[in-house]
Amino acid sequence: MRLMLHIAFVVLTALSTPVWAQTTTLTIGVRSETASMDPHWSQFPQDKQVEDHIFERLVAMDHNSRPIPGLATSWRSINDTTWEFKLRENVKWHDGQPFTADDVVFTFNRLRAGIQGAIASPAFVLTNGNKRIEKIDPQTIQIRTDGPFPTMPEEMSFFSIVAAHKAANVQPSVDFNNGKATIGTGPYKFVEFRAGERVVVERNPDHWGQKPHWDRVVFRPITQDASRLAALMNGDVDIIDYPQTPDLPRLKQAGSRFAISEIASDRVIYIQMSFRDMEPFVRNADGSPAVINPLRDVRVRRAMSLAINRDAIRDRIMGGASLPTGNVVPPGFFGYSDALKVDAFNAEQARQLLQQAGYSQGFRVTLHGPNNRYINDQAIMEAVAQMWTRAGIQTDVSAMPRNIFFTEVIRGDPMSIPGFDVGKFSVWLSGWGTATGEATYTVRGLLESFNPEAGSGNANWGRYTNARVDSLSRKARTTIDANARLPLLVQATEIGLRDYALIPIHFQVNNWAHKITLVHRPRVNERTYAWDVSQKP
């Protein structure tokens, strides 16, 4: 009898082991290497998306970048300068300690003190409005600001909360990379970080949220685009980000072992220009300097927009992966304007407008831009240059690596001195992602006048100025009531874009390529999360 039992036991174990032992692993091939596991170290998306598996924020974001409860379950503004956040109860750190308001206070203090050596810590979020935190009880905190601060929930999605009992007195970055302080509350636990090689996390069985499909997740950086695709096809990885647009049709083909997931991202690609009296890269048709910069004339700017065939760019350059636009925030975002339509391609009207503006002979410009920052950036610039040239604006293209471009566009002019930045270029291609999911930062950064004191216009490198946009945007920034704020932002955007403060081209459509046996639900904010991927039933 005992023997029988024993045999039955052995047989049963043998039968059941494969089922029990089967761990599901998802390997993600990512374009950029994670520099650090310290969630307060940088603002690079490749760092954030990995850390988000381990650490959580007070406010999380849904697939369309709308704020949803994270470590905070609810929030409200008590008065003009105070926001109250209720914290989620019964949340445990990965080591079993309970999560409380003290951890949030600790995180604020850690950021305030400055992260030694960090290249771009999110500490600026706290400086912005001089945010001060106060613990009311273990599950409640209040944040006070110097003035009304409507975007508090969005900003609380900017940084992760770290454990007070683990992250105190540790060496920034280093002790997060070796796992000592990498104790979070998130759906995955830290296993291993090997710089340049892989990051491994495993499922946290005690997480409060929905159980993700994968037991283990491995992030592997594969910088080379062709190699990343090869790794997917070879089965080394299960899903990759940023497949190259020329490969998309082949991957989408019927009978392919792979599938594409795509979503229009929050990143708008646009052409910006500079408004000085004389521009170094704008000349008359005969090559002489153009006195009174033609770009100052709104008719010229409109002509430049009408001369761009955005559909052709989408179809011939982007492989279909773009959403032509006349807006700066994507459809569905807070602050999107339905009234701003895409400028339809009309070369004839463009020429007429140039004529009306007194440029029947046209003029010459050089279009600058990065060649390794946005999807197909250089090809877009070349296409725009051809389209403009056909409309009468002779355009040369000068593309350069992003590390050169961004310094030059901000302060490349010889007139530039510290505290008084002057850009070098006259017309350039750039991009902006509305990471907060709503338009306040976008309007403030792109359309408001450049003003270091107010922190406005920090990406308005061409120094566009419009008093009406400024006053609307400033008012929006201090209006807590969302219903009152929305029309202000929409109006500011409409005034700025009807005046062609910049010329929007399209929103990048982001793609992921994965095994056909998987399902991936992508996000507008370009990040790749393991819980967005599951096995096809």
């Binding site: 650090s36 290249i119 594969i222 090869a230 096809m233 080394d236 050169i404 471009f405 310094t407 950064g445």
Partner: protein, 325 residues
């Protein structure tokens, strides 16, 4: 000999100094890393703070002298990206690159020398002509192309080898080696061959040229007349003499292979120093770039020294001359 080594070292200090000057100013002229690191929501004040924190707001010459002062105390500064001492970041990834470089040089000698000797011995044979033709191709095709083709054939079509990454490692004396496991070797195969292919071609050509020259020298003729066995003539007399230029080239190429395995490492996502350099240039991580290049200069200096020492072992004339002076 010691005098010679001393002179070499003094020279190299000078080379390092000039190199830091060029790299430091060169990288700074390109752009400001803060512009790349900062989030777009980081406003003007936040950007200014960031620059001040890294001393990037000071005049360039001041930054340079600060760097020199620290460098004399052995501190090459922290990498902006990683926040760790730049040298430490590089050395962490050195084993992977050294392993790849050693494997590549070994492969090129093992394949290159016998093929080159054969081609030199029987220059008219069809096999020799074939070897030479292939070596010309090996010379001419760019590394990245070879790498991608190898991935396509061996990883995608045949499915024999993994496409990217470093395999399973074993830690020996604190150094992680992947060469000791099957999985590691499988991962090593394609990048090694990619890196070796140009060197194989080079060594074939050098060996062949050496063979053609040495085979007609008096001492070989004399040995043959004396009736010495062919194998002995080849292994003792000929091989030693043709190895002198080959050793020089191996030395030079080894340095180059370590320092600039950049392309191969990028294609195969090999977690070595070369990939680190490319990423550092991308974000203008100046301390890392400077430290890397200082290390490369030192590697070259050391390799040249070793080559000179091997010379004197292979060629008694060098030893004699040194003894006379």
């Amino acid at each position: 000999m010691s005098q010679f080594i001393l002179r070499r070292l003094i020279e190299s200090v000078f080379v390092v100094l000039v190199m830091t000057l060029i790299v430091f100013f060169g990288v700074s002229v390109i752009g400001n890393p803060a512009d790349i690191f900062a989030a777009q929501e980081c406003d003007q004040k936040c950007l200014a703070d960031l620059k001040a924190r890294f001393g990037l707001d000071r005049p360039l010459w001041e930054q340079y002298f600060l760097f020199l002062g620290n460098a004399l105390r052995g501190e090459l500064g922290n990498s902006f990206q990683h926040g760790l001492p730049a040298l430490q970041v590089i050395l962490q990834r050195a084993p992977a690159t050294l392993e790849l470089a050693f494997a590549a040089v070994l492969l090129s000698v093992v394949i290159g020398v016998p093929l080159g000797m054969w081609a030199g011995l029987k220059p008219e044979a069809l096999s020799s002509r074939l070897i030479m033709a292939i070596s010309t191709i090996g010379f001419s095709v760019p590394t990245f192309w070879v790498g991608l083709i190898l991935i396509m054939v061996f990883a995608l079509w045949l499915g024999w080898l993994p496409a990217i990454g470093r395999g399973q490692t074993v830690t020996i004396l604190g150094i992680e080696l992947s060469i000791l496991t099957w999985n590691g070797l499988a991962h090593l195969a394609l990048p090694t061959f990619t890196l070796a292919i140009a060197n194989i071609a080079l060594i074939i050509r050098l060996t062949r040229a050496g063979m053609r020259e040495v085979m007609f020298t008096d001492y070989v003729k004399f040995a043959r007349a004396k009736g010495v066995a062919w194998s002995r003539i080849l292994m003792t007399h000929v091989l030693k003499n043709i190895m002198i230029p080959v050793v020089t080239v191996i030395g030079m190429e080894f340095g180059g292979t370590i320092a600039f395995a950049v392309v191969t490492e990028t294609i195969f996502s090999w977690p070595g120093m070369g990939k680190l350099l490319i990423d550092a240039i991308e974000v203008l991580d100046r301390p890392l770039i400077v430290a890397y290049l200082i290390l490369v200069v030192l590697i070259f200096v050391v390799i040249n020294l070793i080559v000179d020492i091997i010379y004197s072992i292979l060629d008694p004339r060098v030893r004699l001359r040194a003894a006379q002076t």
